[in-house]
Amino acid sequence: MTNGFVRRYIFSTDHKIIGIQYILTGLIMAIVGAWLAVLIRLQLGWPEHQWVFLSRLLPKGMPSGVMTPEFYLAVVTMHGTIMVFFFISYVLVSGFGNYLVPLQVGARDMAFPFLNMLSYWIALLSAVVMVLSFFVEGGAAAAGWTAYPPLSAVASAVPGSQMGQTLWILSMALFIASFTMSGLNIVATVFSTRAPGLSMMRLPLTVWSFFIASILGLLAFPPLTAGAVMLLFDRHFGTSFFLPSGLVVAGKLLPNTGGSPLLWQHLFWFLGHPEVYVLILPALGIAFDILPAFTRKPVFGYRISVWCLVAVGCLSMIVWGHHMFVSGMSPFTGEYFSLVTLTITVPMTIFGVNMLASLWGAKLELRTPMLFALSVIAMFGSGGFGGLFLGNATADMQLHDTYFVVGHFHMMIGGVTLLATFAAIYFWFPKMFGRTMNETLGRLHFWFTFGPFFVIFFMQHFLGLQGAPRRYYAFTAFDYLRDTRGQNLAISIAALLLVSGQLLFLVNFVWSLFGGLAAKANPWQATTLEWTTASPPPHGNFETQPVVERWAYEYGVQTTDGDFAVQTVPARNVPVTA
C-alpha cells in the first residue's frame, strides 16, 4: 500500500500528501503570479522606462525594455486568473482543506481517497495548460480574468483572444472538474466520517468553513462551465450565444446574430461572486481558529459565527448583479442587488466583531501565526468596508471598473486570504513536516508583508475615487489622471518591497523543511484533534480512534497538560464548558 517512493509521495491517496502537493503547487503558481504583479507595477510605476535586462528575458513582451500593451493585458489577465484559481484556491481551499479536514474530524482519510488523488493530478494539468497558454500564437488570454465577450470571443479583438483564450477556457474546465471532485470529497468527509462524539457544533470553525465553501463551489461553478462551453462554441463553431448582430471588429463584419454579451456576465458572476466567498471563508475560519491558541481563552461567539458563515454562503448566491450595475441591466434589478448585497454586511460584521472580541481579556502570545491572524482581522475590516461602497449602486456608478474595485478585491481575496494562508502555513508547518519554522524570519516576514500590502491597496481605493480606471496600461493619456503619477510610483515601490519580503518566507520554508528543529506533537498547545497525534501524523492519522468529548476551544482550564484540554479529554477529567 505505501511501498515505494512513487506510490508514497507521488501517486499517493493519503490526504496529507495530496494536501501538501496542492500547497506546493499553489506556492509555485504564487511565484508566477507575483512575478506577473511585479511586471504590472514596473509598467505602472515607471511607464515608458526601458528595462533593458527584461528585454532579454522577455523579448516579445518587452522589446527594447518597454512592455507592449498586448503583453500588459495578458499579464493582467493571467495575474488575476493564476492568483485566484491556482494560488489561493489550490493552497487554501484544496491544500489546507485536504490536509486538515480528515484530521480535524478524527478520520483516517477523506471519504474518497482515490478521487482525491485524481483531483490533484487534474488540478496540476489545469495549471500546466494555463501556463502553457503564454507560449501560443498571440500569447496568453488578454480579456481580463472576467473574459467578457465579445473581446474574449473574437480572435481579432485582441491578440490573446487567439489560442490563448481557448487554452484558458480548457484550463478552467479542468480546474472546475478538479474542484468538483475535491468539494464532493470534503462535504462527504464532514458528513460521514466524523469521530464518535464529534457533533457538527463541536467542529472547529475551520472545518465548517471548508464545508460551506465546498458546498458553495459545487453549486456555483456549473453556470461558469455552461458559459465556458458556450464561449468556446462562439469562438470556434460559429454560434452566437454571446455575439450580437452587426459586430464590426478590425474592419470585418461578423456573421453572428442575436447573442447577448450580458448573458456571459450573468453566468460568469453567478459563479464569480460565490467564488470569492469560497476563497475567503476558509481564510476566516482558519484565522478564527488560530486566535485562541495565542489568546489562551475560548473564541467569542462560536455558534453565532457558524451561523454567520452559513448566512454569508447563502446570501452570496443571490447578489452577483452588483458586478453589473452599469452593464445595461435594468435599474430595478440594480436596486434589488444593491439592497440584498448590503445585507451581507450583517453576518460579516458580526463575524469580524467576534474575532475582535475574542481578543478581549486575552493573554497574548505574539508568535508568527498570531501576527498574521491578527492582520487578517485588520485586513478583513479594511477591505470589507469597501464593500459598502461598491454594493451601493449609486456610489458604484462612479467607482465601477476603477482602481477602487482593484483595491477592494485585493484586500479581500488577496490580503485576507494571503495573510490567512501564511498564518496557516506557520501554524501547521510543524504538524505537516515535523519541523519548526524560524520564528525570527517569520516575524520579519510579517513586518515586510502587512504594512506594504496595506499601503498598496489602501492607496488604490483612492486612486479609484480620483477616477483611475482598471486595466489601463498607463495613466499618461489623460490630464485628469496626471496627479496619479506620484501615487502609482509609491505603490510600485511598496509592491517591490512586498515581493522582496516574501523571499524571507521562501527561504524560511525551504530551509526549515530540511534543517528546522524537530517539532513536538503539540507545539502550540492547541486543542483540535490534529494536535493529538504525531508530527507528522502516520498514515491513517491516529493510533487509536479519537473519541470527542468537548468543543474545540477548551482553553483557560486547569488540566495536567496546562491551561487547555484537547477535544478528546474525557468529561470526567475536565469539565466540559460548551
Binding site: A107, R108, D109, A111, F112, T180, G183, L184, V187, A188, F191, S192, T193, I215, L218, L219, A220, F221, P222, P223, T225, A226, G227, V229, M230, F233, F237, G238, T239, S240, F241, S245, T257, G258, G259, S260, L263, H266, L267, F270, G540, N541, F542, E543, T544, Q545
Partner: protein, 198 residues
C-alpha cells in the same frame, strides 16, 4: 494494532447494517447530482433568456427524438424490473433486465447520434440558429452524462451477476444506479420539453 475505524472496517464490524461506504457513495452521488442540476439549470435559463431575442428561429426537430425518449423510458423501466427481480432473488431475470437497461442506454445514445445526423442532413448545424445551437449543446451535455451513467450501470450489472453472494452490497449499488439513471431520464424529459415546446 491499528484500531482506527475506516469506512470498510466500520462496515465490517456491523454486519447487516448499511455500510458506511454505501452511505458515502450515496451522499457523493446526490451532491454530484446537485452540481449537475445547476449545470442544466444554467443552460435552461440561458435558453429562456435567449428565447426572447428577436432573431429566434425554431428549427424542425427530428421525430427520432421521440423514439429516443421512449427508449430511455423503457430502459428506466427495465432497470426498475431488474431491481425488483433482485429483491425477489430472481437473479437470472435481474441479469436480463439489467442487460435490457444497458442496451436501452446505448440505444438512446445511438439514437441521439442519428437524430443529430438527421438534422445536419437537413442543413441544420450548430450555428444555423440559436435554437439549433442550444439544441446541440444541451443534448450533447446530456449525452455526456449518460455515458458516465452507463459506466455506473455497467458496475451495477456486474454486481447483479454475483448478486446472490452479497445482497446488501448489490442493493446499495442498485440504488445508486437507479438514482443516477432515473435522474438523467427526468432531466431528459425537461430538456426535450424545453427544446420542442418553447
Amino acid at each position: 494494532m491499528n484500531m482506527v475505524m475506516d469506512s470498510r472496517s466500520l462496515a465490517a464490524s456491523q454486519p447487516g447494517a448499511v455500510s458506511l461506504r454505501e452511505d458515502q457513495l450515496r451522499l457523493g452521488l446526490w451532491m454530484f447530482l446537485a452540481t449537475v442540476t445547476m449545470l442544466f439549470a444554467a443552460f435552461v435559463s440561458a435558453y429562456i433568456v435567449r428565447r426572447s431575442g428577436t432573431d429566434w428561429r425554431q428549427v424542425q426537430l427530428p421525430a427520432m427524438l421521440w423514439v429516443n425518449t421512449l427508449i430511455l423510458a423503457v430502459s428506466s423501466v427495465a432497470l426498475e424490473a431488474a431491481s425488483r427481480s433482485g429483491f425477489r432473488l430472481r437473479w437470472r431475470q435481474a441479469e436480463l433486465a439489467m442487460g435490457a437497461a444497458l442496451a436501452g442506454g446505448l440505444g438512446f445514445l445511438a439514437g441521439q447520434f442519428v437524430a443529430w445526423r438527421e438534422m445536419m442532413a437537413a442543413g441544420i448545424y450548430l450555428p444555423t440558429s440559436p435554437h439549433a445551437s442550444f439544441f446541440f449543446v444541451i443534448t450533447g451535455a446530456h449525452a455526456l452524462h449518460v455515458v458516465a451513467a452507463l459506466a455506473v450501470l455497467t458496475w451495477g450489472a456486474v454486481a447483479t451477476r454475483s448478486g446472490a453472494t452479497d445482497v446488501p452490497a448489490w442493493a446499495a449499488r442498485m440504488e445508486l444506479c437507479r438514482t443516477f439513471w432515473h435522474y438523467l431520464g427526468a432531466v431528459w424529459l425537461v430538456l426535450f420539453a424545453l427544446v420542442s415546446l418553447y
